[in-house]
């Protein structure tokens, strides 16, 4: 497969009438047709809907109207984003067949920008996981090596972009669920500042941590998508009511005069080939004019433990609504309590049940202060730790994931090992800070490696500026050979 055409270029051509949205779409649908069986990135390909949208975009252009900055660009949506009249399952049996009666705000904004919704992507059930293996509908495979996981929980979205099924995708990131699969699949993935992208219509996992963010094949495309979906939403009380950084315009400004801190604690747990790539990226930035130094933020080591108290606590409450009463699956029983119990026991998978019980436990009487409240204090310490680092540095640099993609089935029996995949990504969620994973070569096994850039709140502009330089200096990565019928 040839290098994918940037979304920015596609939109420009479509808006100018030089390319038809219908043609763009058919090209991508063909790629899906050829490669999806071996990847399983999608729970549902919405071909008819997308064709309808594509025709409308072309009609707009023909009528002299501007269809918007994403005109004719297919976008894959993680299946925890509500799409009216289109099944939204969160890859769970309990929501199988559920048709939301409303659209998420980001979905509305994409449509208004002329984008084409090409499908709903596979994920870990209710976004709980780091490999997409806990999906009730089967795992997604890494396009670079189909015996490996794509990462999670937004594995389907990452794989869809990596495989060339869509130039753009949306995922959600609660503890690393955009960045980690982006790293494992060799694409760009960003978690923005908490509050910059509306959560209205995102099925909640952990409300104080969840954020929607872009997957793309380039930093510029990620910036384009972020600019479209970001911005205040009165339907989300946690949505920031101040100007969201507009990022596309600053990408070429370079890193001259900037200070980049290499986060030592993140290097500690990472595999040698990953560490090597991070150091290589650091050198590249130095060569490009940045001042690079090592920085220690000891508080981040507490992030994993605090996260596994806060996130399940909030999740246990957010998932209470799946009770078989108003929507979704119901398993009948003699009385309502028995019905709730049977429905949830049969509808939820093991990982979801584990986290619900863990969360219920840490919130329950007698344990609240030792666990949950304590975790909220740890969060304060992490934010303070980062603040000290950002007094000296503009951005921080580290690995995204500790290793390259692991084999399917390798970690499913040991939840704790799975949780350790998130050690470099979790601190940004706890702090509400933005972070981005940029592909930077491959590991010893030839599989993609991503390096992570972190910044303080609302520093997306700076972050992407630096990311653009990292991208420009990144070693080449062999594209996955799965499209157009080529062997994996």
């Amino acid at each position: 497969m040839s290098a994918p055409r940037p979304a920015l270029e596609t939109a420009t051509l479509v808006r100018a009438g030089e390319e038809s949205a219908v043609d763009v779409l058919e090209h991508h649908l063909a790629a899906i047709e050829a490669g999806e069986e071996s990847i399983h990135a999608f729970n549902l390909v919405t071909a008819d809907q997308a064709r309808h949208q594509a025709r409308a975009v072309d009609a707009s252009v023909a009528a002299g109207r501007d269809p918007g900055p994403l005109a004719g660009v297919p976008v894959a949506l993680k299946d925890n984003l509500c799409t009216r009249g289109v099944p939204t399952t969160c890859s769970s049996r309990i929501l199988e067949g559920w048709l939301p009666p409303y659209d998420a705000t980001v979905v509305t904004r994409l449509a208004a920008a002329g984008a084409l919704m090409i499908g709903k992507t596979n994920m870990d059930e209710f976004a709980m996981g780091s490999s997409t293996e806990s999906s009730a509908f089967g795992a997604t495979r890494n396009p670079h090596d189909t015996s490996r996981v794509p990462g999670g929980s937004s594995g389907g979205s990452a794989a869809a972009v990596a495989a060339g099924f869509a130039p753009l995708a949306l995922g959600s990131d609660t503890g690393g669920s955009i960045r980690q699969p982006a790293a494992l699949c060799g694409v760009v993935g960003m978690k923005p500042t908490y509050g910059t992208v509306s959560r209205y219509g995102l099925v909640a996992f952990a409300s104080s941590l969840d954020q929607i963010g872009p997957f793309a094949t380039s930093v510029a495309d990620a910036a384009l998508l972020f600019d479209v979906i970001g911005g205040h939403d009165p339907l989300d009380s946690t949505s920031l009511n101040r100007p969201t950084p507009r990022v596309l315009s600053v990408l070429d400004d370079g890193v001259d005069g900037m200070t980049v801190g290499v986060l030592t604690e993140f290097l500690d747990g990472a595999a040698p080939d990953v560490v090597a790539r991070v150091r290589q990226a650091a050198e590249a930035l130095a060569a490009a004019g940045a001042r690079v130094e090592e920085v220690s933020v000891p508080e981040v080591t507490l992030g994993l433990s605090a996260y596994y108290l806060i996130a399940p606590g909030e999740a246990s409450s957010n998932l209470a609504r799946y009770d078989g009463v108003r929507y979704g699956v119901r398993v009948d029983a003699e009385d309502t309590v028995a019905m709730n119990t049977a429905t949830r026991s049969q509808g939820f998978g093991a990982e979801v049940k584990r986290r619900i019980m863990l969360g219920t436990y840490v919130l329950s009487a007698g344990y609240m202060d030792a666990y949950y409240n304590q975790a909220l204090r740890v969060r304060t310490r992490i934010i303070d730790g980062f603040a000290l680092a950002y007094a000296r540095c503009d951005v921080l640099l580290g690995p995204t994931a500790p290793t390259t993609a692991f084999a399917l089935g390798a970690k499913v029996d040991d939840p704790l090992t799975m949780y350790l995949s998130d050690v470099c990504t979790i601190p940004s969620n706890l702090a509400g800070h933005p972070a981005i994973s940029v592909p930077f070569g491959s590991g010893d096994d030839g599989l993609p490696i991503g390096v992570q850039l972190l910044g303080p709140a609302l520093s997306e502009g700076t972050l992407l500026q630096v990311a653009a330089v990292v991208e420009a200096t990144a070693p080449a990565l062999a594209p996955p050979g799965i499209s157009s019928g080529e062997a994996a």
């Binding site: 509500c82 929501l95 959560r199 009380s237 409450s317 009770d323």
Partner: protein, 479 residues
């Protein structure tokens, strides 16, 4: 209840706020609409929905806090987690350890002060109807849920356990209801469920003893039920203790028909609500300006209105018990402004109060709509003697029918001329001449006979004579 025992009562009142929309979404806050037509992703608890706080609900909550003399504080929202079909998200968004209003009080009309612990905001649940003849949960096969009410704004007002008698409890609820209506926060309709009262009752042998174990009583649909239920429950607890048993802390349901409280069968032991801060909402910090604006636009509370009129009565020499009852009546009916304006216009306070409590109250709605200028003119005509009491009442009735008007003109139309002094004197003379014995006794000092003669004159003039004028003519004649 025997004199050996004392009761302790605390009341929790849930009040539905009179907003246009629900607490966390823009669905209409409407009673009686077709089921499940006033719903949206938020109040249905759909995946991906988020709450956004209603500014007007906050203002009304602050108005209640102000009216109850509470401290208005920065506050936060918490989730109260429990499963129930009418709870759309299987958690309720409420306020826990940082409520908006704390440490207030409510003074009963007799001056007794009941402390208010807190008055916080929370969302209402949907409504469940149960299949089966009784409509009760017990014995029904299935239930139906309507989420129109889900998310309606509530303020929960928790009193301190300061009340000691059922009468005090009734007076508290009555006064609280009047305050809630006066503050614009609620329509106070207990029977419709926009105001719900739960009572916590315990007993002890003396006021020096610590509080006993309390029970919570639910399903009190009227002030009368409240009183009956409290008495019953206190007696029940006393009987238990006297029989050597313990009172078990539990929730009990008042059965109006049978006149008893019954323990509710609950599926759980103590509920573990796992309260935690609501991550989808941010703290509420009303600034001093907003708090002041709410206080400034708050109308007069019932206590102030009553005090206003009692002050007028005191200036005129004091308030009798029956006058105090009249004061309560005119304030309850919203007619106190009429009284105050009449007195300001020169009418005596006793007359203004009596005429309003007795006559104007017969059609309170019309009276409230009446232009106070006409009312004051009418009472002035009566006070000066130009109209008799009977005539004044007739003119008032006409003012109601017309929705206003000129009392003097109406009086003329009805032929209510004031009797001339001469014709009045002649009528009195006739009566005196016809009853020489009584006249002689009156002249000797039997003042009570003035009433006898006045009655005769009134009968002869068919009520047209002015009683006061007759009395003063009699005195003049006597010399």
């Amino acid at each position: 209840m025997s004199a050996e025992w004392a009761m302790v009562i605390g009341l929790e009142v849930h009040c539905e706020l009179k907003t246009t929309t629900k607490l966390f979404c823009g669905c209409p806050n409407m009673f009686g609409d077709e089921p499940n037509t006033n719903v949206c992703p938020n109040c249905l608890g759909l995946p991906g929905s988020l709450p956004v706080l209603n500014q007007r609900a906050v203002e009304l909550a602050m108005a209640i806090g102000t009216a109850l003399h509470c401290e208005i504080r920065p506050s936060t929202f918490h989730r109260k987690n429990y499963f129930y079909p009418d709870q759309a998200k299987d958690y309720q968004i409420s306020q826990y350890d940082e409520p908006i209003n704390v440490d207030g009080h409510l003074d009963l009309p007799d001056g007794f002060r009941v402390g208010i612990e807190r008055a916080h905001m929370e969302e209402d649940t949907g409504k469940t109807t149960h299949s089966g003849a009784s409509g009760r949960i017990h014995g029904s096969d299935y239930s139906l849920v309507d989420y129109n009410r889900s998310g309606v704004p509530l303020v929960e007002i928790v009193s301190c356990p300061d009340m000691r008698t059922a009468d005090q409890a009734r007076a508290y609820v009555t006064e609280l209801r009047a305050i809630l209506v006066a503050s614009g926060a609620s329509d106070g309709k207990m029977e419709e469920g926009s105001m719900r009262v739960d009572a916590n009752v315990s007993v002890r042998r003396s006021a020096d003893d610590p509080f006993g174990t309390r029970c919570e009583i639910k399903n009190l649909n009227s002030v009368r039920s409240l009183g009956r239920a409290i008495e019953y429950e206190a007696d029940r607890q006393i009987a238990l203790i006297e029989a050597g048993e313990r009172v078990v802390q539990q929730t009990r349901h008042w059965d109006e028909g049978a006149g008893i409280t019954q323990a509710l069968r609950s599926k759980e032991d103590a509920y573990d609500y796992r309260y935690f801060l609501e991550p989808d909402l941010v703290p509420l910090v009303p600034d001093a300006e907003w708090i002041r604006a709410v206080a400034d636009t708050l109308g007069m509370m019932p206590a102030e209105r009553r005090a206003r009129i009692v002050d007028l009565l005191d200036e005129a020499g004091g308030a009798t018990d029956s006058a105090l009852l009249q004061v309560a009546t005119v304030v309850d009916l919203g007619l106190d402004d009429l009284v105050v304006e009449a007195v300001a216009g020169g009418v005596g306070s006793a007359l203004a109060l009596a005429r309003t409590a007795n006559e104007a109250a017969t059609d309170a709605e019309a009276a409230r709509a009446l232009d106070s200028k006409s009312y004051v003119e009418l009472l002035t005509l009566e006070a000066s003697g130009s109209l008799s009491a009977t005539q004044a009442k007739a003119v008032l009735a006409e003012l109601f029918v017309q929705g206003g008007g000129d009392p003097a003109a109406i009086a003329r139309e009805k032929g209510f001329e004031a009797m001339s002094e001469d014709s009045l004197a002649a009528m009195v003379a006739e009566a005196v001449v016809a009853h020489p014995d009584e006249w002689s006794r009156y002249c000797d000092g039997d003042d009570k006979l003035a009433g006898f003669f006045t009655g005769l004159v009134m009968k002869a003039t068919k009520g047209q004579a002015n009683g006061k004028a007759v009395a003063s003519e009699l005195r003049r004649r006597r010399g």
